[in-house]
Symmetry: C2
Subunit: 343 residues, 2 copies
Amino acid sequence: MTSLRDVAERAQVAVSTVSAALNGTRPVKAETKRRIERAAAELGYRPNLLARGLVSKRTRILALLFPPPGSGFGLTEMQFATGAAEAAAELGYHLLLSPESADPVEELRYLTGMGLVDGVLLMEVRLADERTDFLLESGTPFAMIGRTREPGSLDYADIDFARTARDAVAHLAGLGHRAIALLNHSTGAYSPGYGPAVRAGEEFAAAAREAGLWYAGDVRADTAGEGRLAFERLMAEHPEVTAVAAMSDQAAVGVLQAVEERGWRVPGDLSLLLASASARVAEMFRPRLTTLEPPGAELGRLGARMLIDRLESPGSPPAQRLVPCRLVIGDSSAPPRGSGAAR
Amino acid sequence: MTSLRDVAERAQVAVSTVSAALNGTRPVKAETKRRIERAAAELGYRPNLLARGLVSKRTRILALLFPPPGSGFGLTEMQFATGAAEAAAELGYHLLLSPESADPVEELRYLTGMGLVDGVLLMEVRLADERTDFLLESGTPFAMIGRTREPGSLDYADIDFARTARDAVAHLAGLGHRAIALLNHSTGAYSPGYGPAVRAGEEFAAAAREAGLWYAGDVRADTAGEGRLAFERLMAEHPEVTAVAAMSDQAAVGVLQAVEERGWRVPGDLSLLLASASARVAEMFRPRLTTLEPPGAELGRLGARMLIDRLESPGSPPAQRLVPCRLVIGDSSAPPRGSGAAR
DNA sequence: GACGCGGATCGAAACGTTTCGCAAAACGTA
DNA sequence: TACGTTTTGCGAAACGTTTCGATCCGCGTC
């Protein structure tokens, strides 16, 4: 491993001069600089990040905490990670992928105490999240993908649920639907206060109200089995519902089962929207589902970028970005049954 | 940030003694040790990884290179990452998620040159892979998820394609199929020599031969459109084929389209297997597809573990593990058309 | 009572950087 | 020529560890 000293020797200057020349920390005579750069290139010199980090207290490493598997870790969550890693790499940073153990706060204490990471990127943020409390208290810079209930002046990138819900509702209302339902995540599978579930619920309700649509909100399912039952119950209690938006792809599978069982067809008898699933997933369904595709990679990129901004200019105003899901129209949404148009 | 020196002061001993006591590097009198440990706990001391790494030349950080998005990065690939991160964490290591740029070797040179990572975990390995050449030459420890054509004494964890193909073929043969086809990845989308494509092709052919089945191997598709066309062509040329295994979920979508267009049903008229897709994905299809679920998380875990073994006992014999995909039987495989059994 | 020995602890050096006060050289001006 | 100013480069210290030879102490032995 070639060090700054080797370069200094070869270029016939002092170590500190090499450092200055290579980093542009202070002016170095053009000719000397050239000589140093040549020596560095010839020796294939690469600065040692550890030594640099030790003195500068900056490692240019970001940690991304990811929740234990099973808690709905899908394609979208992976896009957070790859998007963040890419944005970080573009800006000269690295991303550490840290699995979250049973005690996330202890995990964070450990992670930040080592001096290894400059900042933390949080995902799967809950409305009240102990992790943010710890990070605030410990003074560790961080940004969130998702957000707490009162993000105050914290940095975050999240889905624009308000906009997304209104787009979806407008799509359905435009087709002629008058009564819709949101098949939300079940409270059991996710810790209570799981942001997306709560916000989707609130915003779909608001959007439906604004559009003058009847709305059933408290229908919940996360598995195919649950989805089937939930849909049956919904139809029993509210037969007027002609369109359903499902938050979970698994639950959508159950709805399709139930639809088939009663001899119905999608979209003739029921319009089915998939909320929070990539178009790639929606394509696998028959018929191709209309979907609200979450901007996973973009949120990851934004999160990483705002964290880096925070690190490099700590005083700047908080960055808070909301990005709507993209409505990708498939073959599962059509005018409601009995409207005469499609059958 | 509390340092070794603070602990030493509080415990009234020398810095080096604290280091020895905390790491067990050399014997320290029980009472002294207790005193030191108490002081460390009271101060909330955490060793600084950078300083430690600087002298020990070991950071306990592993890098996982992941390919640029678009090259078929799905749920399985993500499981490599999370599995590896978890296994690493269990053993006290960290995982750096590194996006691979256009020049992977330069990327590696950079990554390993900084002294930041102890070893590298490679995925999406090709049969002839320049990255392994570089890593071997530079003496960087590494392990592969996947493998080159001649892995020699390299460490790897890969899918057991031979076993997987035989399981799949046995399943189909047992149902009565006599002629099958593998809908492989198209050569265009993947760099030539993409291991899984080549090995799946070879092993399915071998398994079919052994089972006495007629086999069509050179059918390729990676998108729905390609899948539809490929299937149509297959049926035109080889109408005797009654079962298809698709390597790509997208291609399977195309096959289902084509099946529907000709008024057929799955599995009555065609048995369709999904190779290399998680059961969760297979469930979204109607009917639920029979699938060969790759052991993504396990391969990730194995890869991380063998890399760590290599780091901690460099002389140990190479670890090479093959794990078969799990055959998850869905509703898409049944006796062949015309067999009288199912219709 | 001197000597040697082993266990326990200490102190200093080293890892590869950055940072900073200072000295040397170069230049312009009186 | 002498002096002040700017430019350029140097050397030492510091970051928080690990490592290793040196030192100190108590004890048994002859």
